[in-house]
């Protein structure tokens, strides 16, 4: 059985933070993503080599038998199971299962509503520049095969997806990987000396020893948000840790649920108020030079052909963004990188459900979705389910609703009206 001195791990972070608290922004490691993934894989293979026989779980893991048993009471808190919602009454009064799409959409709506109510306050500060350490349990419990082929493989796959999503949503943030194995925490990749405000612990099995409480307090005092995703049973100490530090604690029920839980951490969380010391930083948005232009590069001090960026203040050429201009010291960033996170600041308002009318009112209700021109009528000219934007009053189909809120982050109706623009 793996015993991990949990407190040691957290103590490590807290210490780091004390030294480096002044940093509000440092140059993000875009290049680092590849390195991260590589080292993640390396870490995994190390695990394989180091422990040739990871499988033989010799203890109290009978509970992980999986699919046949009913959900435990604590599991029900996480499962999105509402059996009454999967039944629907049809015209003749018979109960029949709701079709999959509607169910899927209902789940999405619930998620969206909970998100928007959480940020109901008109202005929520979001910590868009995040420093996150991902702690992955590589102890023997990770070799458990209750998730196929093993917990570790499943987690590795999801973490890879998470890192991609993370950099997509948090362009200026930094991430580091830590593995815990045999009670020792090992840094797979470093942040490069930056403070970390969020810790997410992915773990298979945890048994605590020592004075964890003290460490949790330390975490709380230094404003580190800790979130834990468990793969086996719920543990009180993890829950307590998350509660105290303002993180999220959740337990994955199966692979799909795990994926959902991990990706939930990709959007930036609300900033911890006292920690958010704001600064205005002067930055330049250099133009990319035309292909085939020869210029002398200020970073390598040699003539370069094509590409490159021009500092808007001193017109020096630099090779890569983001960087600091060698000549005038201006911080140079690529504006699309900043713009990637703007949808967090200006979210699209959730659309309202339109009650299916019994008598189709042809005047009030258009026949097609405003976004994709798909017909909003079910076969037989019965009005299907659709949603409407509270601002521009255009009607959208359910698919567009999901696409608009999860990927596009623009309401096509509001964007194609001039007067609604002046309001926003």
């Amino acid at each position: 059985m793996s015993k991990i001195p949990y407190y040691a791990l957290i103590g490590y972070f807290a210490k780091e933070l004390f030294f480096l608290k002044e940093f509000t922004l440092s140059i993000p490691p875009y290049k680092k993503r590849k390195e991260l993934l590589r080292s993640l894989r390396k870490g995994m293979s190390n695990f394989g080599n180091g422990k040739g026989k990871p499988v033989t779980g010799d203890d109290d893991d009978d509970e992980d038998e999986g699919n046949e048993r009913d959900l435990e009471a604590w599991e029900r808190a996480y499962a999105d199971e509402r059996s009454w919602e999967s039944l629907q009454e049809d015209e003749s009064g018979l109960l029949r299962p709701i079709d999959n799409q509607a169910l899927h959409h209902a789940q999405y709506r619930r998620r969206l509503r909970s998100l928007s109510s959480a940020s109901a306050a008109s202005r929520i500060q979001k910590g868009l520049i995040r420093y996150l350490y991902l702690v992955i349990d590589l102890s023997r419990a990770a070799g458990e095969m209750d998730l196929r082929p093993s917990r570790m493989v499943v987690v590795a796959k999801q973490v890879e997806a998470f890192i991609r999503e993370f950099f997509d949503q948090n362009p200026l943030s930094q991430i580091g990987l830590i593995s815990i194995k045999n009670g020792v925490a090992q840094c797979l990749t470093d942040l490069g000396g930056s403070p970390e405000s969020h810790i997410k612990v992915l773990m298979g099995k945890l048994e605590c020893a020592g004075d964890v409480m003290e460490t949790i307090q330390k975490c709380k005092n230094s404003k580190i948000r800790c979130s834990v995703i468990g793969l086996s049973a719920e543990l009180y100490i993890c829950k307590y840790l998350c509660q105290e530090t303002g993180g999220l604690y959740s337990v994955a029920l199966d692979e799909a649920h795990l994926k959902e839980l991990i990706l939930e951490h990709a959007p930036p969380p609300p900033a911890i108020a006292e920690f958010a010391i704001a600064n205005l930083i002067k930055m330049g948005f250099p133009q990319r030079a035309a292909e085939g232009v020869i210029s002398i590069c200020s970073c390598h001090k040699e003539a370069k052909f094509g590409g490159g960026y021009t500092c808007p203040r001193c017109k020096a050429r630099v090779c890569e963004l983001p960087t600091e201009c060698r000549i005038c010291g201006l911080t140079l960033v690529s504006s699309p990188h900043l713009a990637r996170s703007y949808h967090h600041l200006f979210p699209v308002t959730p659309f309202d459900d339109v009650a299916p009318l019994i008598v189709p009112n042809q005047h009030r209700r258009p026949k097609t979705c405003f976004g994709c021109q798909q017909s909003l009528l079910n076969p037989g000219n019965i009005p299907g389910r659709c949603v409407t934007c509270p601002k521009c009053k255009q009607f959208f189909c359910l698919d567009c609703d999901i696409y608009i809120h999860e990927s596009l982050h623009n309401c096509p109706g509001c964007e194609s009206l001039r007067d609604s623009k002046s309001l926003s």
Partner: protein
């Protein structure tokens, strides 16, 4: 740049979303080298040639107006041989409706058209094609744009660009105005499309057929125009100015053109990094403008 797992397309069938700029202020301005009707006749020939290239090719036209945007033509709805007639009729209806919506008395300059709206609509349509099954035409977006950029649409246009990038839809742009468009340069650069500003607009049809008619697969074998550089300027959130140097809020990354005391987006007060916690809290409580 997010790598997206490559989708299984049929090889050379395209879905072309054409966004036509119908901003009346642009077309009536003296700087425009040729008339809207000349422009339309060249674009119509181009659309016909796209449909001739492959029986399965699909063309959808969206009008980008000054006050609204709308679909004006969809070849999958089947209009037989009355292609031009249907399009022109819908376009006329659209222009009249667009004019009725106009509320502003006077606009300085030629104004901007609602590119963000038509881009969002095009992307919604493309998502519908993606949903239709694993075999579908390869979508791409072509912006025929003349008006200047509307800095107020910056965030919305960037959102559309990133969504297009994620679903691997290239945005091609053909600028028919007198100035380069920073937004379209970024759109084409980020999504891997072609950006072109034709020198001689009389030959627009030739530019369109040689550069924008080929399907995405055949593009790999062509020598397409190289980008003339990309203008990465952004719009500030306070005055909607297009700027190349600005101040960034370290909390929410908002862009401002000059130094402010307080962030108008997230409400955090700016001070020195060493300001004590209590003062920054007091400042935050102050009512915002």
């Amino acid at each position: 740049m997010t790598p997206v797992s490559s989708k299984q397309y049929t090889d050379d069938v395209s879905l072309l979303m054409v966004l036509i700029d119908t901003n009346p202020l642009f077309w009536s301005s003296t700087a425009t080298p040729f008339s809207f009707s000349k422009f339309l006749s060249q674009v119509l020939s181009f659309l016909n040639s796209i449909i001739l290239l492959n029986q399965l090719n699909q063309v959808v036209v969206i009008a980008t107006g000054f006050n609204s945007c709308d679909y004006i033509y969809d070849s999958s709805l089947g209009h037989g041989n009355l292609r031009a007639e249907t399009l022109l009729q819908k376009l006329e209806e659209f222009v009249i409706k667009d004019e009725e919506l106009n509320k502003q008395e006077s606009v300085d300059g030629i104004g901007s058209s609602l590119l963000s709206g038509s881009l969002s609509m095009a992307l919604c349509y493309i998502q519908r094609v993606f949903r239709s099954g694993s075999i579908h035409p390869q979508p791409r977006i072509l912006c025929l744009h003349g008006s200047q950029d509307g800095p107020g649409q910056y965030v919305a246009i960037m959102n559309s660009i990133f969504s297009a990038q994620r679903s691997m839809v290239p945005i091609d742009s053909c600028v028919i105005g007198s100035q380069h468009s920073a937004f379209l340069q970024q759109a084409s650069y980020i999504t891997g499309g072609v950006y072109l500003k034709p020198q001689q607009l009389e030959g627009l049809f030739q530019y369109l057929t040689t550069v924008f008619a080929t399907d995405l697969h055949s593009r790999n074998f062509l020598q397409l125009p190289k980008p003339v550089g990309v203008d990465f300027r952004a719009s500030c959130f306070c005055h909607k100015n297009t700027i190349d140097m600005g101040y960034i809020c370290s909390v929410c990354l908002s862009i401002f053109c000059k130094h402010h005391k307080k962030c108008s987006t997230c409400g955090s007060a700016f001070g020195q990094p060493q300001t004590s916690v209590s003062t920054s809290n007091q400042k935050r409580k102050a009512p915002d403008s």
